[in-house]
């Protein structure tokens, strides 16, 4: 029995080591970019593993090469707009799907499910055509307007409202003389808050990291978002590593901080988003 217990412990230890190894490999790139962002060129050449004190200097020099702060602010703006729009549009549409019967409801529903299967790259060429036609090239709206179409969000709100909002509440609100829009705003919206939070988290992460649409839509130097600025650094071999890593680290850090404070909620929401309801 003792031998058996010991073997059990060794197996457990091995599993602990294995999982810890995976966790370390997952975290290592963050550590590495943070490390190099604080070092000067000499420390990097010597592959020093000690944090240096050059972060602010690296940041200043990065700013001289590319409009980095500007691009971070632009990304924050685009992400905010995309999230607000997506949450508002999904809330209204999902609520309508859940509460009302209307003509074309089931066919619209089928069409939405079908379009979810079309790969995003099919949309890329016509997306360029559309934003060119309506004059949105080099406008941030070209990136945040399409985020308003969040089929996952609509389905999630529909499902949530269906489960959380009993018909009796709606009926009594109508008896009290509230009109349909007032019911949506005063009763529906507050009730679907958890679903809207999930939609918001998914959209924030997607938009902050979005690369494909900005690549096609944003061209002039003062309209850059952070992913595009980072990409321009990858082509320029002249840029020293400490500056490139300062940029990478700063592009990751906002979502990283959010994750540290709400990892449970974010993991739940993003998993939900990944399996599309």
């Amino acid at each position: 029995m003792i031998a058996d217990g010991r073997r059990f412990d060794i197996a457990k230890l091995m599993i602990y080591l294995l999982v810890s190894l995976f966790a370390s490999l997952s975290l290592f790139p963050f550590y590495w970019s943070a490390l190099l962002a604080t070092q000067d060129t000499r420390a990097i050449m010597g592959m020093s593993l000690r944090f240096g004190g050059h972060f602010l200097e690296n940041y200043r020099r990065l700013e001289q090469q590319v409009p980095f702060t500007r691009s971070l602010l632009n990304t924050a703006y685009v992400t905010t707009m995309a999230t607000l729009l997506s949450v508002a549009v999904s809330a209204a549409a999902g609520y309508a799907f859940s509460i009302y019967r209307f003509k074309g409801k089931s066919s619209l529903f089928t069409i939405l499910i079908l379009t979810m299967m079309v790969p995003s790259v099919v949309n890329l060429v016509p997306y360029f055509f559309v934003i060119k036609s309506v004059g949105l090239i080099d406008r941030f709206a070209a990136v945040w307007l399409p985020a308003g179409v969040n089929i996952f969000g609509v389905f999630l709100v529909r499902q949530y409202v269906g489960a959380a909002l009993p018909g009796e509440i709606l009926d009594s609100a109508r008896m009290d003389g509230l009109n349909e829009l007032q019911i949506f705003l005063r009763i529906g919206l507050p009730l679907m808050r958890p679903a809207l939070l999930t939609v918001a988290i998914v959209v924030v992460v997607d938009t902050w990291n979005n690369f494909m649409l900005p690549l096609v839509a944003l061209q002039s130097p003062d309209k850059q978002i952070v992913q595009l600025v980072l990409r321009s650094l990858s082509g320029a071999t002249a840029t020293p590593w400490n500056l490139v890593m300062t940029g990478s680290f700063l592009a990751i850090v906002p979502l990283l901080i959010a994750f540290v404070f709400s990892s449970k909620q974010m993991m739940e929401s993003l998993t939900h988003g990944a399996v599309k309801g």
């Binding site: 599993i15 602990y16 294995l18 999982v19 810890s20 995976f22 966790a23 997952s26 975290l27 790139p29 963050f30 549009v89 209204a92 549409a93 309508a96 009302y100 019967r101 209307f102 939405l112 379009t115 299967m117 079309v118 790969p119 790259v121 099919v122 949309n123 060429v125 016509p126 997306y127 360029f128 055509f129 559309v130 307007l145 308003g148 018909g167 009796e168 709606l170 009926d171 109508r174 003389g177 902050w208 990291n209 494909m212 096609v216 992913q227 980072l230 990409r231 990858s234 082509g235 890593m245 940029g247 990478s248 680290f249 990751i252 994750f259 993991m267 993003l270 998993t271 990944a274 399996v275």
Partner: protein, 313 residues
């Protein structure tokens, strides 16, 4: 006052359409129209620089061009290789990690789970830059390999160093590695949800029969996890086949030496924006769609059969 209907359901077309209007508008402009337009465009020749008037109908020429184009086939083979290697690794790792985190690990479970999930929320572009540094010929990974081969006296391997992880032999590995790193975590969490839904009674029952840890995994967890494996694999296949960001940055937009890191999505972009041939770009994107639909159908059939067999037993 309006008469309330039963259970709050209401045939109020006006309010319904009003609430749906913003969504329908955006959907029409950014989803529905583009799909039809893309289908239309795949039969046209269009150079966007010359304006909309330069569009001309060319029949199936774009598809013919794509199917006789070496670069297209290379991109297709690359995409399939990266998809399979990274997909397999992601799911093997994820199932192992999920089972370990849920049934073996007690202390530090949440931290380890969160750490493994974290790559999912990172920018592919930023991580690609870190990968450039780590995997460069003078980077930390090569240094580690040199140190390991010297320490273990593996002289034959040592002569192969430093490895150029961005050359035509290694670039697909480097891309697959980064993709695996990014998506193993979310698959782990998906599998943890699946494992958590398995009733503890089943484990207890098989434990009473004297089953060990491995048998519990093999005969309880794995079969009951089948629907999660099904959806997880399907999502990974669909996602990986559209791979764009990682190959785009890791090959600096070129596709790599001899297109060794070119994926289909990236080739669509290059055809449209480098070669200014929007018609062929659309055609290739539809070929990709067809391929994804085909793979999805095969996965559905494959799993359907396996599950059918299990029912027979």
């Amino acid at each position: 006052m309006r008469k309330p209907f039963f259970k709050g359901l209401l045939h109020d077309h006006r309010t319904a359409y009003l609430l749906l209007l913003p969504f329908i508008l955006l959907y029409a402009v950014f989803n529905a129209f583009p799909i039809f337009f893309s289908a239309f465009l795949s039969f046209q020749a269009w150079d966007p620089v010359k304006g909309f008037s330069s569009m001309t109908f060319v029949g199936l020429d774009n598809f013919y061009y794509a199917f006789t184009d070496d670069a297209f086939w290379i991109s297709l083979v690359n995409t399939i290789k990266i998809t399979l290697v990274s997909g397999l690794c992601q799911h093997l790792f994820a199932i192992t990690l999920a089972y370990s985190l849920l049934h073996v690990i007690t202390r530090g479970r949440h931290f380890l789970k969160a750490a493994i999930f974290l790559p999912y929320i990172t920018s592919s572009v930023a991580v690609s830059l870190i990968v450039f540094n780590l995997f460069s010929p003078v980077g930390a990974v090569n240094e580690l390999l040199v140190w390991l081969t010297a320490g273990l006296h593996l002289n034959a391997l040592a002569t192969m160093l430093p490895v150029n992880f961005f050359d035509s032999d290694w670039i697909r590995f480097t891309i697959a590695n980064q993709v695996t790193w990014k998506f193993t975590g979310i698959n782990t969490v998906i599998y943890m949800t699946g494992l958590a839904s398995i009733s503890p009674d089943l484990y207890e029952a098989i434990e009473l029969d004297g089953a060990n840890r491995r048998q519990k995994f093999r005969y309880i967890a794995l079969p009951l996890l089948a629907p999660f494996i099904f959806f997880g694999t399907l999502m990974t296949l669909i996602g990986n086949m559209q791979l764009f960001n990682e190959p785009m940055i890791l090959t600096r937009g070129t596709g790599g030496v001899d297109n060794s890191g070119l994926t289909v999505s990236m080739y669509v972009y290059k055809t449209g924006w480098s070669y200014l041939d929007m018609g062929t770009a659309s055609a290739i994107s539809w070929i990709l769609f067809g391929l994804i639909a085909l793979v999805s159908a095969l996965v559905f059939r494959g799993f359907g059969k396996r599950r059918g067999l299990n029912h027979d037993r």
